[in-house]
Symmetry: C2
Subunit: 158 residues, 2 copies
C-alpha cells in the first residue's frame, strides 16, 4: 500500500514528557537502494520484514509493505544484512489527533532525532508541537537505509 508520511527534525527533548510508549528498535537492510529497500527490524520482542519503494515527487508518499516474522528469523536475517545497522529508541507521542513517532538514534547516528507523522492525504492538516523543527520529507540522506551506510557522525554538513 501507499504510506503518506511527513518527516521532521526534532529541536528539543520535550517530546519525552508526553511520550505514550518507548520501544527499542534495531534494524538492518537486505537492500539499501531507495527504489526497493528491504528492511529487517527487531522492535521490542517482535520481528518484521519491510519493503519500501521510491518516494513520489514530494517525498511524502511511498509504497510500503510489511509483515511480522518470528524474532529468531529476524535475528538470522540481520546476520546477512548489509554492513551498518540502525539502533534507536522510538517514542510514540500523541499530539492533537495524530501520533508522532520520534526516533532517537544511537551509535554512529547519535545526535540525530527524527519525528514522523502518518497522514491520510498529502495535504492533511496536523498540529505541530513546539519541539518540531525543519521538515526533511523525501531527503534521501535521512532515510534509515542511507543512515546505515552514511551515518550522522560522518556528515560534513549537519
Amino acid at each position: 500500500m501507499i504510506e503518506i508520511e511527513r518527516k521532521f527534525l526534532v529541536v528539543s527533548e520535550d517530546y519525552k514528557t508526553n511520550a505514550n510508549t518507548k520501544t527499542r528498535i534495531v534494524q538492518g537492510f537486505l537492500n539499501t537502494n531507495p527504489e526497493r529497500t528491504v528492511r529487517i527490524r527487531i522492535k521490542g520482542d517482535k520481528g518484521f520484514i519491510t519493503v519500501k519503494g521510491k518516494g513520489n515527487k514530494t517525498g511524502v508518499s511511498r509504497f510500503e509493505w510489511e509483515k511480522e516474522i518470528d524474532l529468531t528469523e529476524a535475528e538470522q536475517l540481520l546476520k546477512i544484512a548489509e554492513p551498518g545497522s540502525i539502533d534507536k529508541i522510538r517514542y510514540e507521542v500523541k499530539v492533537g489527533n495524530h501520533v508522532f513517532e520520534v526516533d532517537e538514534f544511537f551509535g554512529d547516528n547519535k545526535g540525530l532525532i527524527i519525528a514522523e507523522v502518518e497522514l491520510s492525504s498529502e495535504d492533511e492538516i496536523f498540529k505541530k508541537p513546539e519541539w518540531l523543527g525543519q521538515e526533511v520529507s523525501g531527503i534521501t540522506k535521512y532515510y534509515n537505509s542511507q543512515l546505515s551506510k552514511v551515518p550522522f557522525k560522518n556528515w560534513v554538513e549537519k
Copy 2:
C-alpha cells in the same frame, strides 16, 4: 535455515514422462546480490518472499528463509523488483527416494533446463536419472537471480 541442494543441467525431456506436478512460476528480485538475494515468487496461485545468503565453498549449502504472502501483495512487490524477471515451469519428478525439481525456462532463458535435488547432508547419496547432465551447483551464473540480469540468450558460452 540452511538448505542443501545440488543443481544439474538436464539433457533430455524424458523427465516430463514421470513428472508428478507441473506449476508455472514467475519471479523477480528485490536484490540480486548473491550475498543476500531477495526473491518475490508467484507459484501457481500463491505468493512467496524468499531471502538467500551466500553459498558455502562447495556451493551446495546456503542460508534460505521463505514466507508465504498474499498473491496480490506478491504482484505489488514484483512491480518494484529489479528489471528482468524469470518465467518457468517447474516439474516435480520423484526418482528413487528423492524429488527433483526440474525448471524449464521461458522468455530470454528459453533453452535452459535445470534440475535441483534437496539433500539432508552434502554427501547424501541419491539416484541419478538418465536425463541428468553436468552438475552446476554453486556456479553463480545459473542462479535465478543472475539469470534475471544476464539471461541465457545473452551467454557467449553455453
